[in-house]
Amino acid sequence: MPCAAAAEVPDPAVLLRALARPAPSATEFVEIRGSALLKQPLRISGQYRRPDRDTLVREVRAPYRETTTLAGGQAVIAREGKPEQRYSLERVPELAGIQSSFGALLDGDAQALQRQYEVSAQGTPRHWQLSLQPREPALRKRVLAVNLYGDDGELRCIATQPARGDIQRTVLGAAVRAVEAGATPESLCELRAGP
């Protein structure tokens, strides 16, 4: 029944309110990184943490250990037995995209999100997709879109579509267990059918 489905398209603002997880908060993740240099995409798992509003920590636990802290426009990468590396977030717009969308998302700050992205919603309140299109030309050159997939008040996947190369998918929260159980990230990073 297309008419009923259309009537049920979720309001992004309502969705965002439901997704809000004020700091401090933490969630498990699984990321898949593809590269032409690799035989098969790399699967990385760990935890995303927000100890405070302005900091996002990405802790990789497998297949190796590594902690990345995003704060103050910088990414600080710490590896076991190696000195810290620092990068400007400006040089990694993909990452800046994750941080800003993720941050605004967890704050439930629809306005902040809409300042940076054109936000649109698809699906139903039960199974939804939020599409974020960068407004800033510099970011748009590198990132075509960030798509968020979720069910009810739970974010399932952040899929970043770079201008060149493969989609980078980050599976979050309860969906991580589905990946561990054998589900492909692709299947988790798409709009689910059904009510």
């Binding site: 035989k39 990405r58 990345t68 590396q85 400007s88 400006e90 190369g165």
Partner: protein
Amino acid sequence: MIRISASHWRLLAALAWLAVLAVAGWIASERLQVSGDLRKFMPDARTPAQRLLMDELGEGPGSRLLMIALSGAAPDELARQSRELRARLGERSDLALVANGEQAGLEAIPERLRPYRYLLGNVDPQAFAAPALREALQARVQDLGSPAGALIEPLLPSDPTLQTLQVAQALQPARAPQRIDDVWFDRSGRQALLLVQTRAAGFDPTGQATALAAIEQAFAAVSAGSGSRMEISGPGAFSVKIGARTSREAGTIGTIDTVGMVILLLLAYRSWRAPILGFLPLATAGMAGLLAVVALFDGVHGITLAFGFTLIGVVQDYPIHFLSHQRPGVSAWRNVRALWPTLGTGVASTCIAYLTFLFSGVEGLKQLSVFTIAALATAALATRYVLPALVEPAIRDFADSRALDRLWRGIERLPRPRLSLLVLAVLCVLAIWRAPGAFWQNDLSRLTPVDPADLLRDAQLRSELGAPDVRYVLTVRGRDAEQVLRRTETLRGWLDAEVAAGALQDYDFAARYLPSMALQRQRQALLPAPEPLRGALQEALVDSPFRADAFAPFLADMEAARRAPPLRPQDLAGSPLATAVDGLLLRSDDHATALVSLSGLRDPAAFAAASQARGAALLDLKQASESLVAAYRLRLLVALAVAALLLVATVGLALRSRRRMLRVLLPMLLTTLLVLAALRLAGIELNLFHLIGLILSAGLGLDYGLFFEHAGDGREDQLRTLHGLIVCSLMTVLVFALLALSSIPVLRAIGSTVALGVVCNFVLALLVSRHHSGGRHAWA
């Protein structure tokens, strides 16, 4: 038709003269090349340090650096401004280097030189064996999986060990400031920092001013509306700031002086034409001096000009003597003829004395000699042959003044000191000899002191940026670039140890950017041949997530590096590396000098000894420039001694009497002793500007002595002379006393010396040289 009276004609002629001077001044200012180049001012270099300072460096790599701090806006905005500023300034040819931390990345090594990364940076031969490669590949997997993966990915196929990044990092200063948004920031993260190296030497005020103006302009465009501020620090910025302050203060003092002189002349001569007539010979003299120097020399040194204009202050007196002797019933021409012997004796003997500067062997002193002689002679001739044509017939005789008459009678009752003067002279000599403190001040920079707050700021920025020391630089000399590069490479271990021990904060040299060819060949020999490398890579790739063919470009690059001819300095042309190398590697046809810039040197003496033992020489550029100042002064003093003898001889010849000669010269000699003693007792270290002040005051003293001694036979003539001398000395005291109050040491040195000298000269000439009532004269 309007009838123009003779009086109007004279006025018109005077104004026409002024107009000609203005035009000549404009032409001179167009043609005049005022340089701040120390070489024009200083004697030839003798020691290696002096030669390096003069011939090659200018003033050390540190002195050409300008440090820039941007503040007052959000960090991302400041970073944007920093990037744009670098982009704009980077295009300028007068700036050798504009750095803000951005070029830290791969841009430092241009694409065509990429394979050379294995020769430019240290390579561990084990790095290309299977175990090390395997470890490197594991780390690359993590890199790909990291948020920065996208950055690293393009580099991996040709460089799985990330040698490029290692080399780029090694090219960074060891103590580079932190980076926010890719550009340098201070520790607090509130100020974006940039480093600019000018091509112009630190002592070249014009070049520095141009560079500063360009930076200010670029910043204005970049920062418009953001509310951010820019601070520029460094030797060049200071010299421009102080130069502006000096000229501003000199301008203010000059204006007050001019007003004071006009009022004084108006009061003294009760004629509104007097200031014009009084001004003409001086202006003409200055112009003649300038034109002579412009015609005979390539460029004029700023200090020479300052000295020159100070020294010709004496010509201000010529028209005053003439005007004071004007009286009804005597034509201006007859008046000037009567004055000429006295005036002429003064001018001729001074000019002959200044001739000695021509043979001093110092360019700056030669210019000074030409300038003053041309100026003095022109002023004297203008007073003798032109002024009488312009002056109005006198309506007043200053000899009629009751006040002057009373004053002169009082003066005549004064005793003529003899023994007391001898005692005074002995006391002065004792004071000069025994007063505590250094006699000479050699540090030119002390004459133009930098605001302590600015110095503090400079030190802060210098430490934040790890900028090199301005004063010390280590040098290694050799036959050619290769030899000095090799020699500096052998110093690396020792320098690193010094840094580790805290004796040194950091150092930099050309071999860090461009290893010697010998070292490059050494590294080449360690690089693996294609087959073994292919084997090791294959082994490392077993069970790796990477594809087997992912690193084919790596094998190609390695082979290119193994076979490439070693890089030479000239191969770097056009790359950012070239700037770094050229600043630290001075090459000429028959030799080369490598500079090791130092920052935060703790114990220069110990370091100098240690470096000497290693075949390097620590140069103290401050000491070198001071020794040059001392050499300049010595030449000046020798020239002065000869000049003094010539002066005595000329005056003696003109006066043809030892007694008269003594009476004329004694006040001037005593004054010199008195002023020297006063300065010494006040704890003032003497500099070149005091010396110039003393020379001017001696020249004035000679004229006072001559005029007092030859005041004319009649009482009227004596009164007119007294009038003239009072106006002269009042005017000179007015001008120089104001300079003495200046906040700028240069102006203060000249001002205090001359003001004190004029008072002493006047009083002593009055006591010693004044005309004998009953005496007879050879001329009148």
